[in-house]
């Protein structure tokens, strides 16, 4: 296995939440290839369930979920865990939605399609920067 270019923290437990199944699975495949463990949820309810059972270090989450607003899900997760790194991954990038995602407890807001280097940089940090 090739060593990553950046000194990347390996083996992080990552929860990927996206109602676009292909997008979620492809991102998970990429993360696994990078040496992380990824679990998948396609809606808000199962995201919360997995969050409770798998206790991920990082959550990469789309905001437009079919059942619950992604912001709601983030609020719940943030209330349950101050340490988890919450990253919004969405097609909407305007300032108002960024502000709302910050307010809901997201640490970062990445625009789709996710820039791989930006993601690597994020995941290379040992823990939540502001925690």
């Amino acid at each position: 296995m090739r060593a990553p270019e950046l000194g990347m923290a390996r083996g992080r437990k990552i929860l990927v939440v996206d109602d676009n199944v292909d997008a979620a699975e492809m991102l998970a495949a990429l993360l696994e290839a990078e040496g992380h463990t990824a679990s998948l949820a396609y809606d808000g309810a199962s995201a919360i369930e997995l969050f409770e059972s798998a206790r991920p270090d990082v959550v990469l989450m789309d905001l437009g979920l079919p059942d619950v607003d992604g912001l709601e899900v983030a609020r719940h997760m943030r209330a349950r865990s101050p340490q988890v790194l919450l990253v919004a991954v969405t097609g909407y990038g305007d300032e108002s939605i960024r502000a709302r995602s910050r307010e809901a407890g997201f640490d970062h807001h990445l625009l789709k399609p996710v820039d791989f280097d930006a993601l690597r940089t994020l995941l290379s940090r040992p823990a939540r920067s502001s925690a």
Binding site: D18, N20, D22, M26, A29, A33, G91, Y92, D94, V114
Partner: protein
């Protein structure tokens, strides 16, 4: 109030005097009982007067309070009137201004006190007098509350002219009798500018929203594509064949979806910009519905698809390709939101002046608040788990745009979630000569193109009658009373429709029928006979006759034969 006070004092004094009088009455006079009674009555009356006086005072106080309240209200309205941003005027019936507020004074370039007493006409540009007169006439004629027009006015010193929105109504007196006019005047340019600013703001907001949604719709399919590319770029050497195949499929799927989004977007924007030219012609809507059915056959095979088309052409003036796209998009939509095995139906029928297409399904249905919103760009019903399999939320927007380009309407109906949905497209119908009403009775046999009909019957009267009927409806008819003659006529005439009696004098009708079927494969050949039992029907079917009709022939059946014959003839 002073009087009332005075009155109550007087009453009090009189009561005192009457009481004193009662005490001083002589004890044993004959008059005494009478007098005493009179004094008591007086006292009683005074007491009542006292009560009345109290009530009067109470009412007086109430009245005063009400008056104060009214005065307060009046002042408030006065203030509103004076300070309102629109110009308010009242005039007598001869146009002399009796009241004016600050805005009116400013518009007309005089202070409000000076304005009163001037005739309103002096502010109207001379050439506008006639229109002013028309406006006042309309007010009387319409019996409406207020009438409105835009007139050119000028200031008192004529230094400024301006277009002014003038509204005028009757001013009624205390008993509703007309005493003059109420006027509302507003600089038209200001008003239009405000409306325009409002519209621009709304447009820019919806444009921002649209752009945000557009970004979202384009970025979403890019996400798995870019992730796959990163996977290959950084870990390509370690991918299993399965992973490779899968990731290529995902990329292909989303690239296709992306292309679809871009196509739809370009389509929608072309329509919105008026760049779509309809290639219009008059055509039968039944054709495109048939086409659409064929086009979706594969994706619809998991559903029960029912088609209901009328027997007669439904002509519209439009672009067949675009209207086919409309039907296809609606069908796609129905398929997408209907579970496997669910029924989907397409029907076409004519109403007065309209061709009406219904596409209905037994799918997930539509919440009432979504019925209209659905036609907005990027608005979708319940989201499918993987949106790449769904649409992009532009299909219905396009459908509406295209239908409206044709001068039609499209609406959605649903009893609610879970109750299926129904989309109705209404298009202007092209009325043809000899249309619907004429199609009953004898006129019901008239067609756009005449049909060549051969009638074979040894009953000459029956053949002649039928021939007359068809000729009167504009068709070309030949008669034959026996089989030999029928053969000869058919050779030269090449009929499109043959009505064949089976009991002929020379050759068996079935034999002739078999020959004609072989010789004229494009013709419609129908047995027309008095025999209708199962065996003979089986025989006519066996030799390849297309229909078996019983005498006397029904006009509607005959009409149907003409349609079928024309259709067969039209085939290559």
């Amino acid at each position: 109030m002073g009087d009332a006070h005075h009155l109550s004092q007087q009453i009090a004094t009189m009561v005192q005097r009457a009481s004193a009088l009662a005490l001083r009455l002589p004890r044993d006079s004959d008059q005494t009982p009478l007098l005493r009674e009179a004094v008591f009555e007086l006292c009683g009356a005074l007491e009542e007067l006292n009560v009345l006086d109290d009530e009067l005072r109470e009412q007086n106080a109430l009245l005063l309070a009400k008056t104060a309240e009214l005065e307060h209200e009046r002042r408030r309205y006065r203030e509103l009137f004076v300070l309102a941003p629109m110009g308010y005027l009242t005039t007598r019936r001869d146009g002399v201004i009796t009241e004016a507020n600050a805005a009116a004074a400013e518009l007309l370039g005089l202070s409000d006190s000076v304005l009163v007493g001037k005739a309103i006409g002096v502010f109207v540009v001379r050439t506008e007098f006639a229109r002013m007169g028309v406006l006042l006439d309309r007010l009387d004629a319409d019996a409406s509350d207020m009438v409105e027009d835009v007139l050119v006015l000028h200031t008192f010193d004529r230094s400024r002219q301006f277009r002014c929105c003038v509204r005028v109504g009757h001013e009624g007196g205390p008993h509703g009798e007309p005493v003059g006019y109420r006027w509302v005047i507003q600089d038209a340019t200001t008003r239009e500018r405000a409306a325009q600013a409002d519209r621009l703001l709304r447009e820019s907001q919806s444009k921002d929203e649209l752009l945000a949604m557009l970004g979202h719709e384009l970025r979403n399919p890019l996400a798995p594509i870019r992730a796959a590319v990163d996977l290959w770029r950084h870990h390509g050497d370690r991918l299993t064949p399965d992973q490779s195949r899968w990731s290529i499929e995902v990329v292909a799927r989303h690239a296709e979806h992306l292309a679809h989004v871009v196509d739809d977007l370009l389509d929608a924007s072309r329509v919105a910009l008026g760049k779509v030219r309809l290639r219009r012609r008059t055509f039968d809507l039944r054709e495109i519905i048939d086409d659409a059915r064929d086009a979706i056959r594969q994706s619809a095979e998991l559903h029960a698809l029912a088609l209901e088309l009328p027997r007669h052409p439904v002509l519209v003036d439009g672009d067949p390709n675009r209207l086919r796209q409309v039907v296809l998009d609606l069908l796609d939509n129905a398929i997408k939101y209907t579970p496997r095995g669910g029924a989907i139906g397409v029907s076409l029928h004519r109403e007065v002046g309209a061709a009406v297409i219904h596409v209905h399904d037994e799918g997930v249905g539509i919440a009432p608040e979504m019925l209209e919103a659905m036609f907005e760009p990027f608005v979708q019903g319940e989201r499918t788990l993987n949106r790449s399999q769904g649409g992009v939320g532009l299909g219905l927007t396009l459908v509406r745009q295209l239908v409206e380009l044709h001068g039609g309407t499209v609406t959605a109906h649903s009893a609610g979630p879970g109750c299926g949905s129904d989309f109705e497209v209404r298009l202007p119908l092209v009325e043809t000569v000899g249309d619907e009403p004429a199609r009953t009775g004898i006129g019901g046999l008239v067609r756009d193109t005449p049909v060549r009909v051969l009638v074979v019957d040894d009953n000459e009267d029956a053949a002649e009658m039928l021939g007359m009927l068809l000729r009167a409806s504009g068709h070309v008819v030949e008669l034959a009373f026996d089989a030999v003659r029928a053969r000869a006529v058919a050779e030269r005439f090449t009929p499109e429709l043959v009505l064949l009696d089976l009991g002929l004098p020379d050759i068996d009708g079935l034999q002739l029928g078999r020959e004609l079927v072989a010789r004229f494969p494009h013709a419609l050949i129908a047995a027309l006979t008095g025999y209708g039992d199962g065996q003979i029907r089986q025989q006519t079917r066996a030799i390849g006759l297309h229909h078996h009709l019983l005498k006397p022939i029904d006009i509607e059946d005959l009409g149907r034969l003409l349609d079928d014959a024309a259709e067969r003839g039209a085939q290559p």
